[in-house]
Point group: C2
Chain length 355, copies 2
């Protein structure tokens, strides 16, 4: 078993931010990115947590992520905007877009913001939580470098492009009532799970991946040389393409095989695209009517008789929000060597930036 | 084998419209509905084609679909509207919403239109095609009466809510270049396929459905008494819920188990909800930049080396648009008894409405 340590949110934020500023990021971009990555860990999405500080730092030093990025918002219409990330830290680009979108949705009720020249943005669920806390419905997605073959193909031309759809629960539902936060990638299993199987010398289930020749495999090494299978076959393949269209094509970003893979070329900008579509349900439907409807909706789902009486049916994102509440209370559990590495990176610069 | 006949689009439109007006629908609502259903047949989506004229007619006569429905559009903001369908024909409600959304998107660049008090709307792909022909990106969906258990549950509380995401190809790509039209429901297999297996005395593959106790089954009769399985397990279940939130909760429609099932109660209004989210890519990105990007995107997908050299990789909706071109040229192939039934319904009223 990996040795773990428990760390408080505030301390982890401080360390992650210090590590990113030590690698050259502007203090504000480092703070925004640390926040999103720590949110990933709080929600139990460790693959998209502070683990990424190591990679982001490396790419900042190599120039693949631009340290002095000038992130710009361009309004195209009252409900449309594009963000040019200037190859900066993905979470800083994405939070700039989310903030702009929330402001526009507050004014007009609806907003689409596309991002280009961005990088890995962490998980989508933290952005969804922020939108929900501001009372907004969010549809968002990002493209990614290619790991999936379009259905019927034998070459990875498609990213494992996650899609998130989220809707806020009202304050009246109580402080612990979870927001509806769907956040799903398009592969049957994440690439990280296959890497883990390889590292542990284990096999992988059939249906997760194919080898480089497009043949089904249970060997993680062959799978990593091949590509991931989309969930639901042609459905997941089509949905992943649709997310790339909304993230990459509409934003003027790179898409499909044009995205530079950070795994192979950490020193090159990725050119990643994201999108954030925000809607104010109170403006559309009226605050009371929306709150009554979404409360009933979540109740109907959560009161479904469970197949296993010990496992109540949850709404999407409920588990992550329960984990978050627990981690805020008891601390975040991390591998000890990961925390040590982030501490070393943070010390590299001396004093971390003020918050 | 079922005996089939080939019928031209114009004649089928005329018959479907006449049958619906004979059942009491307003001529304009009948025309809009006939158009959407015939489009379903043109695209080879026979389960959502003129077969539905029989059901719509029955429900018009029984009052489940209101013959004299007064469909109203209420603008909430420059980019937000709600349509009250007054329990009218689903395609008439949905086309009213699509038209309003296209008009709003032409003005502001972005529009969300939600529909309440609606009914079955046919397939989503015909709406997507219309949006694409007007140069607009469309995200749309509808809820439906419950056939799926939320993941981890053992009671059908979730509809097989389809989601469509579509993006137009430019005219410069040539007259035959297909638009990108994803249209997918959330079950592994459609309920119609299970009905077909039952009628043919065949079994169904594992993974399609569970019986009433929530246990996996390969018996179509047990499956029809049980419920459909979502594709990708918790992912399809979560996405189906998200579509219902966008279709039902946001529009003020019914949702989940509140939707009245037309199979059990054809005489009752369903209260179905839909949504149409439209975006003008020329306004967002500029016409030339969008056209270059979407053309390259579709080319990269279609030029993926195929696993089977005889089966080139297609973009979503390409197959349906190829079928449509062929059916426009050679006619629509229908079961002979279905056409006979529609002809009989059409004659019931005498002269069909003028177009």
């Amino acid at each position: 078993m990996t040795k773990t340590v428990t760390v408080e949110r505030a301390r982890l934020l401080h360390l992650a931010e210090a590590a990113l500023t030590a690698a050259g990021a502007a203090p504000r971009h480092a703070a925004l990115s640390a926040d999103i990555l720590v949110e990933g860990d709080l929600m139990g999405i460790g693959t998209h947590g502070v683990l990424r500080v190591l990679l982001y730092s490396e790419r900042l030093r190599l120039g693949g992520i631009k340290a002095g990025a000038d992130i710009k918002v361009e309004r195209k219409a009252p409900s449309l905007a594009l963000v040019d990330g200037d190859d900066g830290l993905g979470p800083a680009v994405a939070m700039t877009a989310l903030d702009a979108g929330c402001e526009m949705a507050a004014e007009s009720g609806l907003a689409y913001v596309g991002c280009r020249n961005s990088n890995h943005l962490g998980a989508l669920a933290p952005y969804a939580l922020k939108a929900c806390e501001r009372g907004l419905v969010l549809i968002s997605g990002t493209n990614a470098s290619t790991t999936i073959a379009p259905w019927g193909g034998r070459e990875a031309r498609l990213g494992n492009n996650p899609l998130s759809i989220a809707a806020p629960r009202p304050a009246s539902a109580g402080p612990d009532a979870p927001h509806f936060i769907l956040d799903m990638a398009m592969s049957v299993a994440a690439r990280g799970k296959i890497r883990k199987a390889r590292d542990e010398g284990a096999g992988i289930p059939e249906g997760w991946a194919v080898d480089a020749a497009g043949k089904p495999t249970t060997d993680p090494v062959a799978a990593l040389e091949g590509f991931l299978l989309p969930f639901g076959g042609h459905k997941g393949s089509g949905l992943s393409q649709a997310v790339d269209l909304l993230s990459g094509v509409l934003s003027g970003a790179r898409f499909l095989t044009d995205i530079s893979p950070w795994t192979d070329y950490p020193e090159r900008p990725c050119g990643t695209g994201h999108f954030f579509l925000l809607l104010d349900p109170a403006r559309l439907l009226g605050k009371e009517a929306y709150e009554a409807a979404v409360t009933r909706f979540c109740r109907l789902i959560r009161e479904t008789p469970p197949a296993d009486p010990a496992q109540p049916v949850q709404i999407p994102g409920e588990r992550e929000q329960l984990r978050r509440a627990e981690a805020l209370d008891k601390g975040i559990v991390l591998p000890a060597d990961l925390l040590a590495k982030i501490e070393a990176l943070a010390k590299g610069r001396g004093t971390p930036s003020p918050r």
